[in-house]
Amino acid sequence: MAVTGAILVLYLIVHMYGNLKVFSGQEAFDGYAHGLRELGEPLLPESGFLWLFRLVLLASVLIHIYAAVSLWLRARRARPASQRYQVKKRVHRTYASYTMRWGGVLIALFVIFHVLHLAVNVISPGGASDSPYERLVNGFQPQFWFVTLFYIAAVIAVGFHLRHGIWSGLATLGVNQANRQPVLNTVATGIALIVTVGFLLPPLAVTFGLVS
């Protein structure tokens, strides 16, 4: 869970960096996307690195989901529905930790939609295009507010997921000592905030006409 989570967090940061290229114009954005396909050449065939990368990501996502489902099933077995408390108070837990499971499901559904929309372009609000930049700009036009809204909800869920996930992953890896906890908490909140804002900026910029 922690190791695959770490891979996915690092990927998100790289993905966010790519997204923010949108503010440097169409050429930079499309050039970056194209550059990813040429990465590793001539050692690897075209898109070779990209496919390796996708394979690692897919494996990480699947292992991450498998671990999450088994934890959830174990929790259900450890306290079945028939044994739930009639009154239960939240003493310490963060809202982020509360949203891990359903937030995770929302993120998984969004990722499927997101790949079909902006990567494969099977779902193409505003028209399909060979240019990733145009897909982005077409997809987040104001009339497709529901697409933007789903995106915002998912990105906020990712933010919460990272807030608890980074903290929890570090505990699982055994580095979460008491004297480091304030720093680790700040790091977890910091990365979660940066990633949330970083991912929200491009589509919102499109919706509000700052990028066209």
Binding site: S70, L71, R74, A75, R77, A78, R79, P80, Q83, R84, Y85, Q86, V87, K88, K89, R90, V91, H92, R93, T94, S97, M100, H164, W167, S168, L170, A171, T172, L173, G174, V175, N176, Q177, A178, Q181
Partner: protein
């Protein structure tokens, strides 16, 4: 004080169980929570009803026998054991809900009494040290750095009451096991079994059907002995070390 109690009543392991409401008048704010239950039981006995069964022993907050979930919090609103909680923490006219620890690994025996034998079996799996025979060694033969001794002692204050499991949304016993692993792992006497201990104890808690830890922190927040959450990190560190060496 007038108090309305909603108490979990269950005749035995196979009984379904239900919440029953009782009204108590003239409760003194200076009574402990258990004394208030004693008053209730006296009243029930006089009325010819079965008294409410609950675990208790020292009533000084050091044995770990007592423990119920009060208004959704393990051991109630104060960070102490149920026996050291007093009625002054409540208001006149309050309705208080009292439930047993809830976990498959802690089956209800009767009313508020649960079987915490699972904790004993986790201890049996690895919560011990080898004691060589022979004359006692000199007291200063084993120097222990003060910070290590302090940390071992902090972890050793765990009384095994089970509040961590009761409060955990996953019903995980990780804080309990981590306290034992940290306590013994910080001391030279605990080193010979250190690598195998953590694996055996974690395997046992899995076998007992406790849930998995997701580092939420409810356990440490309700712990009457203030066992620090980072003992879990120390357990994970030991566990990763053992597994990477192929132990277990």
């Amino acid at each position: 004080m007038n108090i309305t109690l909603r108490v979990w009543r269950q005749k035995g392991r196979d009984d379904e169980g239900r919440m029953v409401t009782y009204k108590l008048t003239d409760v003194s704010p200076d009574m402990s929570f258990l004394e208030m239950l004693d008053v209730l039981n006296e009243k029930l006995t006089l009325e010819g009803e079965e008294p409410v069964a609950f675990d208790h022993d020292c009533r000084e907050g050091i044995c770990g026998a007592c423990g119920v979930v009060i208004d959704g919090e393990a051991h109630g609103p104060e960070r102490t054991t149920t026996c050291q909680l007093h009625m002054r923490s409540f208001n006149d006219g309050d309705t208080i809900t009292v439930e047993p620890w809830r976990a498959s690994a802690f089956p209800v025996v009767k009313d508020l009494v649960v079987d915490r034998g699972a904790f004993d079996r986790i201890i049996q799996a690895g919560g011990y040290v080898s004691a060589p025979t022979g004359t006692a060694p000199d007291a200063h033969a084993n120097p222990i750095p003060k910070p290590d001794a302090d940390r071992a002692f902090d972890a050793a204050t765990c009384i095994g009451c089970g509040a961590c499991v009761a409060a955990c949304p996953n019903a995980s016993s990780m804080l309990f096991t981590a306290a034992k692993v940290t306590h013994l792992g910080m001391l030279p006497q605990g080193q010979p079994e250190r690598a195998s201990r953590v694996v055996q104890m974690v395997n046992q808690q899995d076998a007992e059907d406790f849930g998995g830890c997701t580092n939420i922190g409810e356990c440490a927040a309700v712990c009457p002995k203030g066992i620090p959450l980072d003992t879990i990190s120390q357990l994970n560190q030991d566990l990763l070390g053992s597994l990477s060496k192929g132990i277990g």
